[in-house]
Each structure stands twice: as structure tokens, then as C-alpha cells.
């Protein structure tokens, strides 16, 4: 491990030295655009200058993405301060994003302000989202349900696509080839002519996948290919009326040994911006999205279908927003909308639907010159679970021109999902256990009683750990309150932010046993139970060493614990097993490591360097993640130091070089995970080592733009 760290340091210093010594002439145009130009829309749903916001927001500009040579959202997010993309190593496949220690289930992902749906066990696969045609990615940390409603507890990630700017047709063709036969081709065309603008984007990715365990059959990630098609149109109907229409279609097919696994994701968005005056504007938006997966596992010998799992989720959402600026520094934003959601899933008895209506309002103002306050709230009314009111207040006080204090308190919620409400599933193939969603548990249990499947006592009464009268009580939404307090400093070449955060979660949904069947199998239902918190600090620094050389670094300190476990340990003490004798030993409460998959420390450092004279650029990005645990292993139901389920801290170094030839051609080469870190999965058997990371990935990219 120390060798690894030394290597990082050496490589990083070397890079810095080369960059500095090569530096002679200074020109404008840096990788990270000037502060003043950085505007975001996600934080307030109005255009706001990034540097003036009272909230913790991360902005990833297009240039950083292109120069890093990455093509998928998960890749670029993993290099940002306080954002972790967790490998799903126990099962392989999907990766989840984590913000301020909050898991992927509680983070909302938007494209141009409208939500991406289609989660597998709560996790949204971000590698599904190609980022070849975007202007920037905005990440708002902390609860943002006051504007965005359900799921925005941990934060919001908004992908802002690029608008066509030039009269002439512009576009690019890119091909990127990387290790594991990863082939990514992208074509895009843009034009803005008079009142009409359009933008077309096609992306194709295919790979042979990779295997983290050599010894076993099959691969960790099977070969797959996917296509993304995106077409957008901008049309000015009049000075006051602007039209935006966008369609996106994604198709992915995994080549699994027997059976099929495919995924389709389509969105259609129509927005009309209606300017009433210089001060007032309406936005009317219609959004439809459909996410479909088909999974079929076939017995290769009998040719019999073992598992058929289909998932078809739809969302239709009209929304109206209204902005009014009373003065240049005070803006009122209001809006309302209607969500029609439906899900058709093999594991559900029927197709299920949700209806919800919402209204929100926000007032962004400056009572005094140095103070900016944003207050807002949103009310969500839902057809199935209880209504939610989500308020939020944030403020920023500019102590001096360069120094500001920022603070915010807001609430977030996540509606119980379809599964938690409507699942009616009996695993006939794997043990005959049943799981009932909250809305169907009464009928489910009654059905089992009627069929005489539930165990009874000698008087013939069913034994029900949860009495029938207590079943069917509606589930509450999972909710959180988040606090952020920070200081920002911005002067000349240096910009620094420090932010302390705390997120308190209550009513997290857990499973419980409702009954036991005569055959010994259990019947599970859902209940609000757990409460957890995450707290810590993040530091983000940027220093322009030279005009063409920018160093940025970030650090996050994180404590994430389950409050119920902490209480239980304080009351009854903590127990584990001696790894050798297997006998129970008493351990300290401090041996409780906290929530799974959380690293105490995350560090990133990035150096971006440009040599305009040569049309060249280079960059080096280092990401460090400290030790984290995967699951309890010794039976005490919490992750502790005696569980052999930890992944040791590791460092990933990503490097890339780019150079433009003949004005229109750009060549880029690079390596991700330069040190070829593979790591060891703690669950691997000694004779069959399982890696954590597939190792170094070298890539080359050729780009033609016109």
C-alpha cells in the first residue's frame, strides 16, 4: 500500500514539474472556465451564478469531461469532491453514486431538468448515461425536495445538454477504443439557424466486459452493447415564445450465457418558454419517459425458462413554472405539476399506478446588499402514501468581496416505491417465501389464511407476529433533514470552500416478518423503521498555478451511522466473535464501523494543463478512497472491525493527453487506473481470488470536429 502511495506522489510531482518547466507563454483560455461565466440552473431553477449561491453545488464543465477522456456519467462523477461511485462488487454490475454519504436510492438524476427513471433495487445505473453531448453537469448537494420532490434527499445531479450556437453546421465524430474491447463511437451534429436550432446525437458503446474472478465460470460484467439516440429542437415561435423539444432513446443488450437481458429507456420532453415581460416568464413542460427491462434466464440444457423478469415503468408529467423578478435581485419562482406513474412488473399481481400532484414556490432575495436568502417549499400530494411538505431555507452572507458564509437547512423525502407498496411475490423457485408490499399485505395474508398456508396453534388460530388489525397501515415516506454550513473564499487564482454537513434520516423502510407458512417459509412485509445519519466535512480547493495550469483538490470526511444500532450498543454492549476460537467476545462501541460502503476519507486531486501553442492538453487525476466495509459477517447485524469484509483504501490514477492536428482532428490517449490497482474482495476464497477493480484501462480517442 505504501508503495502505491509513493507512486502516486511521484507521478503527481513529476507531472507538476513537467507542466511548470514547460510553461513559458501565458495565454487566456483555461480548462476550468472563469468563475464569472459559471452559471447553474439546478440550485434554484433559475439561472444563477455559481459563485453567488448559498448552497453547495459542484459544476463539471464540458471541457473537463472531454479532456478527461471519459464518456459516461459515472466516470466523471467519481472524480468530484464528496461524490463516490461505489462498485457493486458483491453482485457485479451496476454502480451507485453516493453524495455526502447518502446512497444512490436517495439521489435524483435529471437530464435537462427532468428525471431519469428506472432503478434496479433503488440504484440508478449512471453508466447508462452518455455524456458526449452535454454542456455541463450540475450537482446540488443536500436535500433538494423543496424544488424537486421525491428522491432528492442526498442531492440532485442534472445533466445539461449543449445548445447549438453556430449558424454553420457543426458537429463531431469520435471514436474511443479502450481496454476490454471497449468501443465507443459518437456522432453529433448541431446547427442554429435563425429561429430554428437542432442537435442530433448518436452514441454506440460495446465492450467484452470483464471478469473479477478468474476461477469461476462466467464473467462479472458480461459483454454488452448499447445505443443512445438524442435529438433536440429549439424553435422561436416569436420573441416571447420559445419551443424546446427533445427525444432520447437508449437501448442496451447484455450478452449473457443463456437467456436475454435488455434494457430500454426513452424520454420525450417538450418545453415552451413564454416570456410575459422582461420580468416575468412562464415555462410549460411536458415530459414522458418509459423504462423497460426484459430479463430471461434459460436453462441451457432443458431450454426451459428459469426466470422471466420484466419491468415496464412509465412517467408522464406536465409541469408549469412561473418566474417573476421584482427587482434584479429578487425573484419569485412558482410551479406545479402532475405525475402519472405506472409500473408493470412480472412480480406484481397487476399493473400499478401512482398519481401525485405538487406545487412549489421559492423566493430568492437580498434583504440587504450582502445577504442573499432563498426560501422555498414544495407540497406533494400522493394517491397512495401520505402527503409531504418540504421546506428549505438557505442564506449566504458576503463578509467581504472574497469571503462568504453559506448555510442551508432543508428537508427531503423519498416516496415508498412501487415495490414497497405493491409487490406480491412468492418465490416458487427459491424457497417459497413471500413478500408483500404495504398496499397488498392485508389481502396477501388473508389469501394465505384462506388457503390454510399460515401456521396455527392448537386451537386452530393463525399465529401472526403482526396482528391483522395492524397490517396495511400506510407507509410513511422516508425523510431527511439536511444541514449545510460553509465558508467560501475566492480571490484571484485561489478558490476554496469548506462545508460542514449533517443529514438526519428517519422512517427508512425495512422489511419485517408478517407470518410463517406451514412449510417454514416466511412472509415478509415492509415497515418504516431505521434512522441513520451522515455527517462530515468537505473541502474543495482550486488554485491556478499558471494561466494554463490548474490544480484542484478535494477532501471529504464522513461519519455515517445507524442510530438504532448506536442506541442498542450503548444499552446492551457490543459483541463479536473471536476470529480464532469463534467464541463471543465483548467489543467496544467504537468498533462499530458505521454504514456499509462508506469511506471515512475521500481525496481527489486534479491537474489540468494546456499548451495552446501546440494545441495540446494533459491532465492527471488522482482519487483516493479510504477503507470501507461491505457487510456484517459475524452475525451481530452491524459492520464492525471484527468483520473480515473490508476493502482496504486504494488510489486510482487517471491520466490523459490530447493534441489537435490540422485544426479539426484531435487525438487523445490515456489510462484510467494507471497503477493497475485490482484489490482483493474480502469474500474471495483463498484459492479463488476476486478482484475489486478490473485493473488498468488504456484508451485512445480520435475526434474529428467541424
Amino acid at each position: 500500500m505504501s508503495l502505491n502511495k509513493n507512486n502516486c506522489l511521484i507521478i503527481f510531482s513529476l507531472f507538476l514539474w513537467v507542466a511548470l518547466s514547460a510553461q513559458k507563454k501565458r495565454e487566456k483560455d483555461s480548462i476550468l472556465t472563469e468563475n464569472l461565466g459559471e452559471v447553474v440552473v439546478t440550485a434554484t431553477r433559475t439561472v444563477r451564478q455559481l459563485s453567488s449561491l448559498p448552497l453547495p453545488v459542484t459544476l463539471i464543465p464540458q471541457k473537463q469531461i472531454t479532456n478527461s477522456g471519459v464518456t459516461r456519467l459515472n466516470e466523471i462523477l467519481s472524480e468530484q469532491t464528496g461524490i463516490v461511485v461505489t462498485p457493486d462488487i458483491t453482485t457485479g454490475g451496476g454502480e451507485g453514486v453516493q453524495i455526502q454519504g447518502i446512497a444512490s436510492d436517495y439521489i435524483m438524476v435529471l437530464i435537462d431538468g427532468v428525471p431519469v427513471v428506472g432503478r434496479s433495487s433503488g440504484n440508478l445505473d449512471l453508466s447508462r448515461l452518455a455524456i458526449g453531448n452535454i454542456q455541463q453537469v450540475e450537482v446540488v448537494k443536500g436535500p433538494s425536495s423543496a424544488l424537486f420532490g421525491s428522491e432528492a434527499l442526498g442531492g440532485v445531479i442534472n445533466i445539461i445538454t449543449e445548445r447549438p450556437k453556430t449558424e454553420k453546421i457543426s458537429g463531431q465524430i469520435t471514436h474511443r477504443a479502450a481496454s476490454f474491447n471497449n468501443q465507443n463511437t459518437t456522432v453529433s451534429v448541431n446547427q442554429r439557424k435563425g429561429k430554428l436550432g437542432y442537435s442530433l446525437f448518436i452514441d454506440r458503446l460495446s465492450t467484452d466486459g470483464f471478469d473479477l474472478a478468474d476461477g469461476d465460470e462466467g464473467q462479472t460484467v458480461n459483454p454488452f452493447f448499447n445505443y443512445t439516440f438524442n435529438g433536440r429542437m429549439y424553435y422561436d415561435l416569436s420573441d416571447k415564445l420559445q419551443l424546446f423539444a427533445s427525444g432520447r432513446y437508449f437501448l442496451q443488450d447484455f450478452d449473457i450465457p443463456s437467456g436475454t437481458s435488455e434494457e430500454r429507456d426513452g424520454n420525450a420532453q417538450l418545453r415552451i418558454d413564454h416570456k410575459l415581460s422582461d420580468k416575468s416568464q412562464f415555462e410549460y413542460e411536458f415530459y414522458y419517459t418509459n423504462y423497460v427491462t426484459n430479463e430471461q434466464t434459460v436453462d441451457p440444457i432443458e431450454n426451459e425458462i428459469l426466470l422471466d423478469n420484466d419491468f415496464d415503468q412509465q412517467l408522464f408529467r406536465p409541469e408549469v413554472r412561473f418566474n417573476h423578478s421584482f427587482t434584479p435581485n429578487s425573484t419569485l419562482t412558482m410551479g406545479g405539476g402532475y405525475n402519472f406513474e405506472s409500473l408493470d412488473r412480472s412480480l406484481f399481481a397487476d399493473q400499478v399506478t401512482f398519481d401525485s400532484q405538487y406545487v412549489f414556490a421559492q423566493y430568492d432575495f437580498r434583504p440587504i446588499k450582502k445577504l442573499n436568502i432563498i426560501v422555498g417549499a414544495r407540497f406533494d400530494n400522493h394517491s397512495v402514501y401520505n402527503s409531504q411538505l418540504s421546506p428549505k431555507i438557505s442564506a449566504r452572507y458576503n463578509i467581504t468581496e472574497h469571503l462568504a458564509v453559506k448555510g442551508s437547512v432543508g428537508s427531503g423525502f423519498k416516496a415508498p416505491d412501487f415495490r414497497q407498496l405493491f409487490l406480491d411475490f412468492t418465490n416458487a423457485a427459491g424457497g417459497n417465501y413471500s413478500v408483500f408490499g404495504k398496499e397488498v399485505e392485508v389481502q396477501g395474508i388473508e389469501r394465505l389464511i384462506a388457503n390454510d398456508e399460515i401456521i396455527t396453534d392448537s386451537e386452530g388460530n393463525q399465529i401472526l407476529p403482526v396482528p391483522l388489525s395492524e397490517l396495511g397501515e400506510p407507509l410513511n415516506a422516508e425523510s431527511s433533514v439536511g444541514y449545510n454550513l460553509g465558508v467560501g473564499y475566492d480571490k484571484g487564482k485561489f478558490r476554496g470552500d469548506i462545508n460542514f454537513f449533517r443529514n438526519d434520516f428517519t422512517d427508512l423502510i425495512d422489511t419485517r416478518i408478517l407470518a410463517t407458512k406451514r412449510n417454514g417459509a416466511n412472509v415478509f412485509g415492509y415497515i418504516n423503521r431505521e434512522s441513520v445519519y451522515t455527517q462530515g466535512m468537505e473541502v474543495d480547493l482550486r488554485y491556478k498555478i499558471l494561466d494554463q495550469l490548474t490544480l484542484s483538490a478535494g477532501y471529504q470526511l464522513l461519519y455515517a451511522f445507524d442510530k438504532d444500532v448506536e442506541e442498542e450498543l450503548a444499552e446492551n454492549g457490543a459483541f463479536a466473535r473471536d476470529p480464532e476460537t469463534l467464541e463471543t467476545i465483548r467489543i467496544s462501541e467504537d468498533d462499530y464501523f458505521g454504514l456499509e460502503n462508506r469511506s471515512r476519507h475521500i481525496i481527489n486531486a486534479k491537474l489540468f494543463y494546456e499548451i495552446p501553442k501546440w494545441g495540446a492538453n494533459a491532465n492527471l487525476r488522482v482519487i483516493y478512497r479510504s477503507r470501507f466495509g461491505l457487510t456484517d459477517r459475524n452475525g451481530n447485524s452491524f459492520l464492525d472491525e471484527f468483520d473480515n469484509s473490508f476493502i482496504e483504501g486504494f488510489t486510482l490514477i487517471n491520466l490523459s493527453f490530447g493534441k489537435t492536428f490540422f485544426k479539426h482532428y484531435q487525438v487523445q490517449v490515456g489510462a484510467n487506473n494507471l497503477l493497475d490497482f485490482t484489490g482483493t474482495n474480502p469474500f474471495s476464497a483463498p484459492e479463488n481470488q476476486i478482484a475489486v477493480n478490473p485493473g488498468i484501462q488504456i484508451f485512445g480517442r480520435l475526434n474529428f470536429h467541424f
Binding site: T90, T91, N427, G430, G431, N432, Y433, I455, T456, D457, S458, I463, I513, T516, R518, N519, G520, A521, N522, N572, G573, F575, A576, R577, P579, E580, L582, E583, T584, I585, R586, L630, T631, D632, R633, N634, G635, N636, S637, N644, F683, A685
Partner: protein, 292 residues
């Protein structure tokens, strides 16, 4: 008269001398009033109280059922000794200065507590696993023999997959379960070390009942936890099961593993499951509740 007085004085003095010598050297009978405790295993410290015990332990011969015991301390009112190896229940006899006495109550020599580890007790099921109906016979275990038994009556606990039946109460109604004909019971003690459960006294014992095993066979409710990510059954640390056996004796167990040879880090795909390893302490003495 003078001679008579002299003679009398002489006799008196002589008598006085004799009397004196009788006090210092002559045998005096001691008495035993109590023995405490009145039962114990070999090695248990025993205190005998009484009067006029000799001051030198070497002058005392103390036997438990004929087997001589070593005296660890002695005073005129108290003798402290330990139950000697080979001692049998009955009279405790003390001999000194030609006198012999027994304790007013007899002493019961208790059998030693059995402290052992049962390894790889098989608990197969012919059911489908993963909560599918378990079928097939339970593996019965007797604390008295410390082994698996085929007896339909002389068993205390029985295993099938993660289910543990006890020989007490009535049949729960699952397939192929053994008939309950004893008076067993179980108390599940949480958040303790095995060594901290010192007595079976003061616990509430439950028996298997129609529709419910006394030890809840569900993950996290009874003796084990099931980790769905790793497909592993792990005994919950800090859980001690105290049993009343079918014939009213007591034992405590700590389950250590559900996998063959109790591996340090079981792997559900490699290690054979449904093999119990547990530490136990069994008190074979009727009515005795000590578990240490």
C-alpha cells in the same frame, strides 16, 4: 492430726498436679456443628464448624466417604477443606485424639460439570432450502452422553437445518419432528458472554408449542442471522441458550458455527452447511442449577 493434714495436703497437691496434667495433655472430645455447603463437586471448598478442634491439622483425619481430604486451614472452631478426588456421598468423618465424629448432615458429592465442544453435529434437511418446507428427521442430541442419539426418549435437543427442537412441550406441527416426551425447556439469554451465564436459576423457560418452536427459527429472532448478500448463517454473538434437559437437568450452549469444521470465515459456496459446532456446559446433577 498434723500428719493427716500433711498427707491430705500432699494428696491435694498431687491431685492438683494430676488435674493439671489432665488439662494439658489428656484427650478432649471435640464437637462438629455444621458442614457448608452440604454438596459440591470434587475440589469444592468445604467449611466444617464446631468446637475444640485440635490446632494442628496433622492430628486430624478428615474423610469424605472414606477418602481422606486435605485440610487447608484449621482453628478450634473451623476446618476448611476441599472435596477429595474419589469422594463419595455420605458421612463426612473427622477423627482426632482418639475421638471420631461425623457431620450432623451428610454430604453429597456432585458429579463434575461437563464442559465440552460438540463438533459437526449434522442437521440435514431434505427440503428445498431457502425457507422451503424442511423435511426429514431431526438429529437428536443428549447432553448426558454428549453425543447424537437415536433414542426416542433420552434426547434433549434436536437439529434440522436452522431449526432447533427441544424435548419439552408438544409437537409444533412441522414434518417429521420428534415426539416430545420430556420436560425440557429453553431460555435464550442475549448480550452476555458464555462465561457470564453462571446459573440456570432465575430464567424463564419456554417449551416447543403447537405452531411455534421455543427457539424462534427465523433469522435475527433466535440463535442466528442470515446474511442474504453472502448466503451465510451466522450465530448471533452474545447469545447463550440455557436448556432444561428432558430429565430436568441444566445445560448452556453457545453455538459457534453452522459449517463443517467451524471455519473462521465460512464461505457459503465452499463450506458445507448444516453442521453445528457448539460449546456447552452440562450440569449432570439433578436439581443443580450451577453452570460454572
Amino acid at each position: 492430726m498434723k500428719t493427716t493434714l500433711k498427707l491430705f495436703s500432699l494428696i491435694f497437691i498431687l491431685f492438683a498436679f494430676v488435674a493439671c496434667s489432665d488439662d494439658d495433655e489428656g484427650p478432649v472430645e471435640f464437637s462438629v456443628t455444621a458442614i457448608s455447603p452440604e454438596s459440591g463437586t470434587v475440589g469444592t471448598e468445604i467449611t466444617i464448624t464446631g468446637t475444640d478442634f485440635p490446632s494442628d491439622a496433622a492430628e486430624v483425619n478428615l474423610t469424605f466417604g472414606g477418602v481422606s481430604a486435605t485440610i487447608t486451614s484449621i482453628s478450634s472452631t473451623q476446618i476448611v477443606t476441599t472435596v477429595p478426588a474419589g469422594a463419595t456421598s455420605g458421612e463426612v468423618r473427622i477423627a482426632a485424639n482418639g475421638f471420631t465424629s461425623t457431620t450432623p448432615t451428610t454430604f453429597t458429592v456432585l458429579s463434575d460439570l461437563v464442559q465440552a465442544r460438540a463438533s459437526n453435529i449434522p442437521a440435514p434437511t431434505t427440503g428445498g432450502g431457502q425457507g422451503a418446507p424442511d423435511e426429514g428427521p431431526f438429529t437428536k442430541f443428549s447432553f448426558a452422553t454428549g453425543a447424537v442419539t437415536d433414542s426416542d426418549t433420552e434426547w434433549d435437543i434436536a437439529f434440522r437445518a436452522t431449526t432447533i427442537a427441544i424435548n419439552g412441550g408438544v409437537a409444533t406441527g412441522t414434518n417429521d419432528e420428534p415426539e416430545r416426551n420430556g420436560n425440557g425447556g429453553v431460555a435464550l439469554v442475549r448480550d452476555v458472554l458464555f462465561s457470564e451465564v453462571t446459573t440456570a436459576n432465575g430464567l424463564t423457560y419456554t417449551q416447543d408449542a403447537d405452531g411455534a418452536f421455543a427457539i424462534n427459527p427465523v433469522s435475527d429472532q433466535g440463535w442466528y442471522n442470515y446474511n442474504g448478500a453472502l448466503f451465510l448463517v451466522s450465530p448471533i454473538p452474545g447469545t447463550v441458550l440455557v436448556f432444561r434437559t428432558h430429565d430436568g437437568k441444566y445445560a448452556k450452549i453457545e453455538i459457534l458455527s453452522y459449517y463443517r469444521d467451524a471455519p473462521e470465515e465460512p464461505n457459503a459456496f465452499v463450506d458445507e452447511a448444516r453442521l453445528y459446532t457448539f460449546n456447552y456446559i452440562y450440569n449432570p446433577n439433578e436439581g443443580e442449577t450451577s453452570l460454572e
